[in-house]
């Protein structure tokens, strides 16, 4: 890891923690329970990809409940909080919930659908990279529950058959109870792809593992299946404090720099909280306008005024309700 990458990880890790603490204190926002605890490692995984802001970098689908990877792909705390609070200013204009949304310039692709579906979608995105000979790869986070679905296996099978540059992270869900991420060696063997497990690995170790998988994928080595072991409340992996301590010990940062990073992350998050409290909710006419190309965004006329019987030749051919 470079010094910049280490500083990014420290900053984003502190951001994630501050967000979590702030949401819990807020009294009006709810944090998805299963997002807690997995984010530090998922930030590291996402940061090991090649991020860009011009639409030419790697692609990341952070999964339905984990904001961490989106932070690594340039999402801001303000965007998260707007999404979480259903503000009209949120990236998806509150038309869709969840903590992930799509911004292809930053390489973010929002979660939608049941477990497994996004593996299909990201496999297709990776197919596009391969077809164009681009040095790009796609990353998708899935709950290990995806293993249960036919859709996930169809997506992985497609990716494996075409050897597209895709990294699929299966996150142990805890509530599934049986730690099925441990089965991935067998799954990967069946599809003829590589599998790696991440348990109590250091941040540096995780970063190196994913960076290697990404490098292999981009040169035609095919997909990699990553098992992210553990579950909510399971504290076996390296914590933010351990990572910060490691960065200090190894001389990547000094104490003053670490404190500056922490303060900057906290200030940004606190500022975002201050803003969203004052921001309005969505205005339906704006939020639902023009979501379909070539279709009028009007409400049905029955919602605007009473029906008026038309009579005579002057009856309108155009107007609300007429496409």
């Amino acid at each position: 890891m470079s010094r910049d990458e280490i500083e990014d990880l420290l900053y984003q890790g502190y951001q994630g923690r501050r967000l979590e603490e702030g949401v819990r204190r807020s009294g009006f926002l709810q944090w998805p329970e299963r997002a807690v605890g997995i984010d530090t490692r998922s930030i590291v995984i996402a940061r090991a990809m090649m991020h860009a802001v011009d639409g030419r970098g790697d692609l990341c689908c952070p999964g339905p409940m984990s904001p961490g990877p989106a932070l690594a792909f340039g999402a801001t705390p303000l965007e998260f909080l707007r999404q979480l609070a259903h503000r009209g200013t949120s990236p998806a204009a509150s038309r869709a919930g969840g903590l992930s949304w799509t911004d292809l310039r930053r390489g973010l692709i929002g979660w939608d659908g049941p477990p497994g579906m996004m593996t299909q979608v990201l496999a297709g995105a990776a197919l596009a990279f391969a077809q164009r000979g681009e040095n790009r790869a796609a990353l998708v986070f899935e709950s290990e529950r995806a293993l249960d679905t036919g859709g996930w296996h169809e997506g992985l099978n497609f990716a494996a058959a075409r050897r597209v540059p895709l990294i699929v992270v299966l996150v142990a869900s805890g509530s599934a109870g049986v730690g099925r991420v441990r089965q991935i060696d067998g799954v990967a063997r069946a599809y003829g792809i590589t599998a790696v497990s991440i348990g109590r690995d250091s941040h540096a170790g995780i970063f190196a593992t994913v960076r290697a998988a990404r490098r292999r994928a981009a040169v035609g080595g095919g997909p990699t299946l990553v098992a992210l072991e553990g579950g909510p409340g399971d504290d076996r992996w390296q914590s933010q404090e351990e990572f910060a301590s490691w960065a200090l010990t190894e001389g990547h940062v000094i104490e003053g720099e670490l404190e500056s990073i922490r303060r900057a992350a906290a200030a940004g998050v606190d500022h975002a909280f201050g803003r969203i409290v004052k921001e309005p909710g969505p205005e339906p006419h704006d939020a639902l306008a023009a979501v379909r190309i070539g279709s009028p965004p009007l409400r049905p006329w029955t919602r605007l005024k009473s029906p008026r019987p038309y009579a005579g030749a002057e009856a309108p051919m155009e107007g609300p309700g007429v496409n």
Partner: protein, 340 residues
């Protein structure tokens, strides 16, 4: 057009009439030559050339990276097509039979159709394939699938009835930024009476515009697909009774060309809707409601419909003939309405 094109995509260039199937193949070929972002995905469409040979010779010309033989997993490869579309490609997915689209219903309705709504941008994606009965294909190779998707905002549904429209509308669908379900009736694929000389130039038909297949004054028939031809046959028979029928070919079901329907009903005062799809929840119900909203005062009789009966598509010929709407059914309904 390149010189190594297979015969079935060169009819128009050779000045010969094309079948419906050849028109589809020409549209795909020309769009792939015009735009390198266009690529095909489907089961056995490459080396085998597709179940109906629409894509015969394509893999030799465009290569395996643009004519992709997929696993038998309609959900998986339709999802992959969505991802490729996100990345700027323009996938055309072939369902070997449109009956097989049901495994992809999830990704089409929950992901593809909502993409623009969710702020994830437009998804230029075409899902095309053969539909319809009359070929003794039974319940799993004969369905019309339009109404499974008609209720989903964010999709377009195209269902042409002639080779000229098939080519022009498929080109439009491929160039469209919205996802398009494109239905091709198998009964039209190689029908001799359907051969047409297609326009030589880059022929594009706009999505969302119906056409008047026959002008008349006494009765409007609104229909699409193979039923356009059945309705025209019925109109010829009704003409012998001095009933002048106007036949509106919808061409596109979503967005529905309400203006064309309403204008015709206001002219004739009578409306008969004909579709091969089954009766309950068929598009006739939606059209009747729109006419009720926009042209109720112009109606001189009840709105009637001729459709398939509410049953899975039967396998035996006798049962299937009973199941499908016939010319005689349309004539009977037309006579009743004309005398109302």
């Amino acid at each position: 057009m390149s010189t190594d094109a297979p015969v079935h995509v060169t009819r128009t260039r050779s000045g010969k009439p094309a079948t419906f199937l050849e028109a589809i193949a020409e549209a795909l070929w020309e769009e792939m030559e015009r735009d390198e972002r266009v690529f095909l995905m489907g089961e056995d469409i490459g080396a085998y050339g597709g179940a109906f040979k629409v894509t015969r010779g394509f893999i030799e010309r465009f290569g395996a990276s643009r004519v992709i033989d997929t696993p038998i997993s309609e959900g998986g490869f339709t999802g992959a097509a969505a991802g490729a579309a996100h990345m700027g490609l323009r996938p055309v997915v072939e369902m070997q039979f449109m009956d097989f689209i049901s495994p992809a219903y999830d990704v089409l309705t929950n992901y593809v159709a909502t993409s623009l709504y969710r702020g994830a941008g437009p998804l230029p994606l075409v899902v095309r394939g053969p539909v319809g009965g009359g070929n003794r294909g039974g319940p799993f190779h004969s369905q019309n699938v339009e109404m499974a998707f008609f209720h989903t905002p964010g999709l377009k549904i195209v269902y042409p009835s002639t080779p000229t429209d098939a080519k022009g509308l498929l080109k439009s669908a491929i160039r469209d930024d919205d996802p398009v379900i494109f239905e091709e009736h198998k009964g039209l694929y190689r029908a001799p009476h359907c051969r047409e000389l297609l326009p030589q130039q880059d022929h594009v038909v706009p999505i969302g515009k119906a056409r008047t297949a026959l002008e008349g004054e006494d009765l409007t028939i609104v229909t699409y697909g193979l039923m356009v031809h059945r309705s025209l046959e019925a109109a010829a028979e009704l003409a012998r009774d001095r009933v002048r029928v106007e036949v509106i070919d919808l061409r596109t079901l979503l967005p529905l060309d309400e203006k064309a329907i309403v204008a015709s009903v206001r002219k004739t005062g009578k409306l008969l809707i004909v579709h091969e799809d089954t009766r309950t929840g068929g598009i006739a119900g939606e059209i009747a409601m729109r006419v009720n909203e926009r042209a109720f005062e112009w109606l001189d009789g009840p709105i009637l419909r001729v459709t398939a009966i509410d049953s899975p598509v039967p396998f035996s010929g006798e049962l299937e003939d009973f199941f499908l709407p016939s010319v005689a059914d349309v004539v009977t309904a037309g006579r009743y309405l004309s005398k109302y």
